[in-house]
Symmetry: C2
Subunit: 539 residues, 2 copies
């Protein structure tokens, strides 16, 4: 923002249509950004060109990869960037009275038509230090988006491809938007559906849900059900007393089950004969929930409907899912109902990566997992430490030093490439200065650790992918990348993860993926470092 | 929502003016709520009266208290509750096609005029199991709000009353709204200001900020500064070369300091002569940052201005703050500048409860703390497990059983009281049935653990406070509680915490505060439990 003066000659500001987050305004910003903008303006530095890097230093969740997400929201933000009068009034009230009026006129005039954004495509696998964005402060939009997407991808990876993953986190999310963002980015990271209706409406994510314990306990007995008739699925006839249709099944075989539960299931099946999915653990799964479910599912079957399945929300999910499966298979055999043994089993209840992994190890019969709190709040690590550093101003490189080497920034406007090996796996990412020639296929290139002199390797890439693409504003010779629909971003994420060498993305002790700099950039970093180091240390 | 039919005779729906969260719509809900609403409607149960409890089971952060927050947003939500046509269309698209049209007409007609909300006042200290709200699903709005408020209160408690606490979390918050909510509820929990400008505008929270490392590294040398003049504070004269005013101080005493840092400080002081607060750790705190700051602060002093202070964002904050303090005191003495030794010192850099505590133990000279990630994401525990349980329907009590006793719900519509002892401390909270006589001052009352027979105590309260008040909709004989301004809620929070017996709120091994039920409610819970327990266990 600081380097962005008003432009009279053209106006490339374009409102990108589509769902924008109503919480995101130019004021969603730290006050210091406005203080600094004023100081820059006062010092006449507002027309200088600055280059910023946005990156993170450490992969989350003890892993060795991160999925980059949030780019579309950033681009929408800058595309729509314009101060409203009431916002300028509030900035004026927040800054000292000594600030000159000219500054507020300057704010009135600015937009982001002069800002350039180069970024990795959303949904890409990325690694620490690789720059994802240049210019302005998208930290809020990127940090949580990338974190929850990565979290979702990790859950997908443990659950396996064949399972259905449902995001159930709205109630525990960090605020309403936390809930909506969580749904969007969980889908991006590989989830199949959400329970959050608003997220479904905004982003076209499939929406799923069943009923709660409260629904079950709100019934007393089947006598309460007034409307008992149900048409057969083909519409050919009507069963006048669906409630009693299979009640003999219960009396004959299973003994007495909870009657308020049976009433709730019956009532739900009458409302959703094609979508009967019952929560079976309100009272006792094996003694009441499963027999009640089976009686109602068999009654539906008599009328030509097929029940969807059950949900388990407590207890030993491995054991209960296996026992339920046995039960369903017995029903299939005893009652001659084809495929009843394949009845869907959904599990929920504070699931996370570890519990999925434990379930896999124990063996289970769960088909779908509903995951909430641990997914959406990123409980295992609630924040990603993205930072935003100045790396160049007016073509002068800038470096941020630190006693902690991992916090030293890599100066200059850069290009980034991913180099692929013979097997098709990415081997290493390399950053170069903006004007260096790009790495070439089949040509040896030296890849150096940015700070550790001894870490270096020659690589002969079989394929070279340029990572940073122009997302804003674009020009005839540098066309703007399209913002793909969410589903395509989701595919990119899944494809990129599959393309990785498995040891980089495994859950336990993954191998770090290397991010390097070119020999020229290495030399330049260390030349600058010497020149900028604190005077005291040079003495 | 389920129990809420359309009302023709009156319309108590009232739009409450003030900032509402644009993300919160009736669709910000799990699909199962609509599925269940349909099943209830289909079963003709939509006009029944249901009572729900919203509560949590365990205090967060290893503590023994929680601050209740989010109520105002809930009340605004129900006051404005009304489906839009496009929302109904989306629900229709999400539910099975077999659902009858009459249901959507029903949705068109409903609002929340028939819902009653009884709650503890926002900003109150609350404990597990005490019911905070009756009816509808406010979990999203309550969970994070209460969590981050409690987190803020805990940080305040460790930092002590005299320190200034600044919330700096926007960039790491879980989405834009997570950032705004974090600022609001951190303020509620005892923070003094936020860096988030939008939160300042929406809620009137004081906004604070200084500059970043990028500002410092964007300058090369003092020669860059074009406009070097600064008026004296009283306007009586103008210093033509502020930049050189005290440069001899540096040359004479401190040796060479980083020139781009000096340029940045000078420039910032020219822009904000009354609000000069400098980030001093870009290069080297003691060799460059502090001397540069002092030179500029002394120059400001020459012209009648008073610098605000410094910010430390890395390194050993205890050591650096003490060394800086010594430096400032020496300057006060050497240059005869009164109060220079009291210069403000702000610290930031991944602070949390533990680091504040460690700083206190080491001894430090920090006046203000800027706290971000750990505060706003509630890193130590990223979710509060609020639940929402049906406890009564059509005057029939409902109980949710579980093999885990802590998960058994307490049936019936209830009243809650806080009983105070002689010293003025709260002794115990007690829940009673709705129609039981309230506890009386100076009268002995038996308080029982809801599930453990042997845990019981007689209490003679010196003061009795009814906790659940009517927040919606109110009536002539039961007037609605006002929604107080944020500042008053903040005061309530601080007063309530001060009123607690210290061992309940201390950081290490706090004493659990007891929540009890009346003898009558105890007997009733256990009577119901026997009757509702799974059949198998009764055999």
């Amino acid at each position: 923002m600081e380097a962005n003066g008003p432009k009279e000659e053209d106006n490339r500001r374009q409102v990108i249509p589509g769902p924008t987050n109503p919480m995101v305004t130019p004021l969603l910003s730290d006050l210091y950004q406005f203080s600094m903008a004023y100081a820059y303006w006062k010092a006449g530095k507002n027309n200088e060109r600055a280059v910023f890097d946005l990156y993170f230093r450490k992969n989350p969740f003890g892993g060795e990869y991160t999925i980059f997400a949030g780019l579309e929201e950033c681009i929408r933000f800058i595309a729509n960037f314009k101060f409203k009068e009431e916002e300028i009034a509030f900035i004026q009230a927040s800054l000292p009275k000594t600030c000159e009026d000219g500054f507020y006129d300057y704010l009135r005039g600015i937009d982001c038509s002069d800002v350039e954004v180069y970024a990795v495509s959303e949904g890409s696998v990325v690694f620490p230090k690789v720059v994802q964005l240049l210019e302005t402060s998208f930290l809020n939009l990127i940090n949580y988006a990338s974190l929850v997407t990565t979290n979702a991808a990790r859950h997908r990876s443990v659950a396996g491809k064949s399972k259905i993953l449902l995001e159930f986190g709205l109630r525990r999310a960090q605020g309403p938007d936390g809930g909506i963002g969580a749904s969007k980015y969980s889908y991006l990271g590989g989830f199949d559906a959400t329970s959050n209706v608003e997220a479904g409406r905004l982003f076209g994510i499939p929406v799923r849900g069943t009923h709660s314990h409260a629904f079950v306990s709100s019934f007393m007995s089947p006598d309460e059900i007034m409307e008992k008739s149900l048409q057969t699925r083909d519409g050919s006839s009507t069963c006048e007393d669906f409630v009693s249709l299979r009640s003999h099944v219960l009396r004959g075989i299973f003994g007495e089950t909870n009657q308020s539960e049976l009433a709730a299931f019956t009532s739900y099946a009458l409302a959703f004969p094609n979508n009967f999915l019952a929560l079976v653990d309100t009272y006792d799964v094996m003694r009441s929930g499963i027999p009640n479910f089976c009686a109602v599912a068999l009654a539906l079957n008599d009328l030509g409907y097929k029940a969807i399945g059950i949900r388990l929300d407590s207890g030993d999910l491995a054991y209960l899912s296996c026992e339920s499966r046995k039960f369903f298979r017995t029903i299939e055999k005893e009652f001659g109902v084809p495929d009843f043994g394949k009845m869907g089993i959904t599990a929920s209840n504070d699931l996370n990566e570890e519990t999925l992994d434990a379930l896999n190890k124990q063996g289970h019969e769960v088909d779908s997992f509903g995951i909430g709190t641990y997914l959406v709040t990123c409980y295992a690590q609630a924040a990603l430490g993205c930072v935003f550093k100045l790396v160049e101003i007016n073509n002068q490189p800038r470096i941020k030093l630190s006693e902690d080497v991992s916090k030293v920034s890599i100066p200059c406007k850069k290009r980034c490439y991913r180099l692929y090996g013979k097997e098709g796996y990415p081997l290493v990412d390399i950053m170069t200065g903006e004007n260096e020639p790009p790495p070439k296929v089949a040509e040896r290139i030296l890849c150096r650790h940015p700070f550790n002199e001894s870490k270096r390797a020659y690589v002969v890439p079989q394929r070279v992918e340029e990572l940073l693409k122009c997302f804003w504003p674009g020009s005839p010779d540098k066309p703007r990348e399209e913002l793909p629909p969410l589903k395509m971003i989701r595919n990119r994420c899944s494809n990129q993860l599959e393309q990785m060498r498995p040891d980089h993305v495994r859950r336990l002790n993954p191998t770090p993926y290397k991010v390097s700099v070119s020999a020229k950039l290495y030399d330049f970093i260390h030349f600058l470092w010497l020149n900028e180091a604190p005077v005291g240390e040079l003495q």
